[in-house]
């Protein structure tokens, strides 16, 4: 059902946990749907993502997507991190079952949400999330694309 890469990130998730002095935190999803992702960012004064951690309530692919998303943005500049797409997460995982695509959407949104929080707190403008509304329910299962 899952690729080896998904199982690897599920069995040995990277970057699990919290960052106490995080300067960007984002949470998306809801328990009703069965998945919640929370991402913690530690961004340095050059706007580089120095550290990233996640906490996820969800299925195997939700955990693997979170883990992969954190790997893909770790050490990156915020302008690059903000361009992370769910497709990139799926590709890096070697594919996800169609019914699990929303997990990758959630991972993308969790990263954007955390970056938005950083932008708000630091007063910076990050291209690509000026219009981001963290309160909107991003967990729309109909809005998924492969």
């Amino acid at each position: 059902m899952y690729t080896e890469k998904v199982m690897d990130h599920f069995k040995n998730p990277r970057n699990v946990g919290e960052i106490e002095d995080a300067n960007g935190v984002g949470q998306v999803g809801n328990a009703k749907c069965g998945d919640i992702m929370k991402i913690f960012l530690k961004i340095d004064d050059k706007d580089m993502i120095e550290d990233v951690k996640f906490l996820t309530f969800g299925c195997g692919s939700a955990i693997a997507s979170s883990s992969m998303a954190t790997e893909l943005i770790k050490g990156k500049h915020i302008d690059e991190a903000v361009t992370l797409t769910n497709k990139a997460v799926i590709e890096a995982l070697g594919g996800l079952p169609k019914v699990k695509v929303h997990c990758s959407v959630l991972a993308e949104q969790a990263v954007k949400s955390a970056l938005y929080d950083y932008a708000q707190k630091s007063g910076k403008v990050i291209a690509g999330i000026e219009d981001y509304k963290p309160d909107e329910d991003v967990h729309d299962h109909d809005d998924e694309q492969l």
């Binding site: 919290e18 328990a31 919640i36 309530f57 299925c59 195997g60 955990i63 019914v99 699990k100």
Partner: protein, 388 residues
């Protein structure tokens, strides 16, 4: 690595004796039961022996047992067949919100085609209200279809009382007994059951074979039209090896039922006692006592069922969950919703279903592994307040 199979409500390991019986009928005794020569008549005798054994499990007469392709076919036949044959009486069916999909989707199909269906609620233990059942019966009610025991939470309905109500009001009573047949005592006469579905592979028999008990005198249309097999009620050359395997499995189930009810429920009760003692924030799903001997169902707060299953699988433990993610659906199991669980608690459910092949060591091993796996997932969960 240790392998612990705890998904016996999904399917069971086939008994060695059952395989031996089946091999005979795949091998030398391959005749068609409809043929008049010896080859055929040997096969015919064999399926009738199986029919006798299976009828004795539920105290029915052998000619009231009809072989089918499995539990789902039996449910479909019972409901569609009875409603079609009794259209002069009415078009109303009463069922429950916790039925197996073989019953629920059949009722939904009939509802789309003009039939009227009442879905009874259940309480937090999974029991229907007998009062609500009686109140739901109307002039045009033809059939009550209520499962004997639930496949997810193990709750056993008050079947005898349901049968009494049905009889009192002249309504037919079908019960999906797929999870109960051969596991707990069933007496169709004493319980006033008119139709009963059962399946071989839940009692250490083969897959793809089941039966429908139809009380003599019940009007029912045929589902599979064709030849004269099964008293012209269910056409198609009989699955002789499957039926004989079913018969053998039923024979063993009947002989050992009383002992197994004790040994299996002892293991179940060990789970029911130790899991809440050793893991915090857990909730038992299903009735505390009126439940199948082999059924254990808990919700673990703050975590999701599919992750739990996959981590248990890594420890060699095979189990099941009512989480949406395990089925590809967005909502968790309809059964867990019907007993009133909030979505997030339903997503974290785990069903462990035991058989005679499980041991106390299996239970100890599973509890030990479960403690670690639940903790690991909770440490990853944003819903859980971490304790350092």
């Amino acid at each position: 690595m240790r392998q612990v199979y705890l998904d016996n409500a999904a399917t069971t390991m086939v008994h060695k004796e059952v395989i031996e019986t089946m091999n005979e009928y795949y091998g030398n005794l391959y005749g068609n039961p409809s043929s008049i020569y010896d080859f055929g008549q040997t096969a015919k005798k064999a399926i009738n022996t199986a029919r006798e054994t299976i009828s004795s499990v539920i105290n029915a007469n052998p000619d009231e047992v009809y072989f089918t392709g499995g539990g789902s076919e039996s449910d479909n036949w019972a409901i569609k067949g009875v409603m079609a044959a009794n259209s002069k009486k009415g078009n109303h069916i009463i069922t429950t919100k916790i039925e197996h999909h073989a019953v629920l989707h059949t009722c939904e199909y009939l509802a789309k085609n003009g039939y009227e269906v009442t879905y009874l609620d259940v309480d937090s233990d999974g029991l229907i209200s007998l009062k609500e059942l009686e109140e739901a019966i109307k002039e045009n009610t033809v059939l009550i279809s209520i499962m004997f025991a639930n496949n997810e939470i193990g709750t056993i309905q008050s079947v005898k009382e349901i049968g009494e109500i049905a009889k009192k009001h002249g309504v037919l009573f079908h019960t999906d007994a797929v999870q109960a047949f051969g596991h707990v005592p069933i007496d169709v006469k004493e319980m006033n059951i008119d139709l009963l579905s059962a399946s071989a592979h839940k009692i250490h028999g083969p897959k793809g074979v089941g039966m429908l008990y139809i009380r003599k005198g019940v009007r029912i249309d045929n589902l599979i039209h064709g030849g004269a097999q099964e008293s012209k009620k269910r056409a198609g050359t009989e699955n002789v090896p499957g039926i004989c395997g079913f018969g053998k499995a039923a024979e063993i189930a009947l002989e050992t039922m009383n002992d197994k009810m004790i040994t299996i429920s002892t293991l179940r009760d060990k789970f029911l006692k130790e899991i809440p003692e050793r893991i915090e924030n857990v909730k038992l799903n299903g009735h505390p006592t009126q439940r199948l001997p082999g059924n254990v169902n808990f919700s673990f707060e703050f975590i999701e069922g599919e992750s739990l299953l996959l981590y248990l699988d890594m420890e060699g433990i095979a189990a099941s969950s009512g989480s949406a993610c395990t089925s590809g659906a967005l909502d968790p199991s309809h059964v867990l919703m019907a007993i009133g669980l909030p979505h997030e608690i339903a997503h974290g459910s785990l069903r462990l279903s035991l058989s005679e092949f499980n041991t106390e060591e299996d239970v100890d091993y599973t509890i030990e592994k479960l403690i670690g796996v639940v903790d690991r997932l909770r440490q990853m969960s944003p819903l859980y307040t971490r304790r350092k």
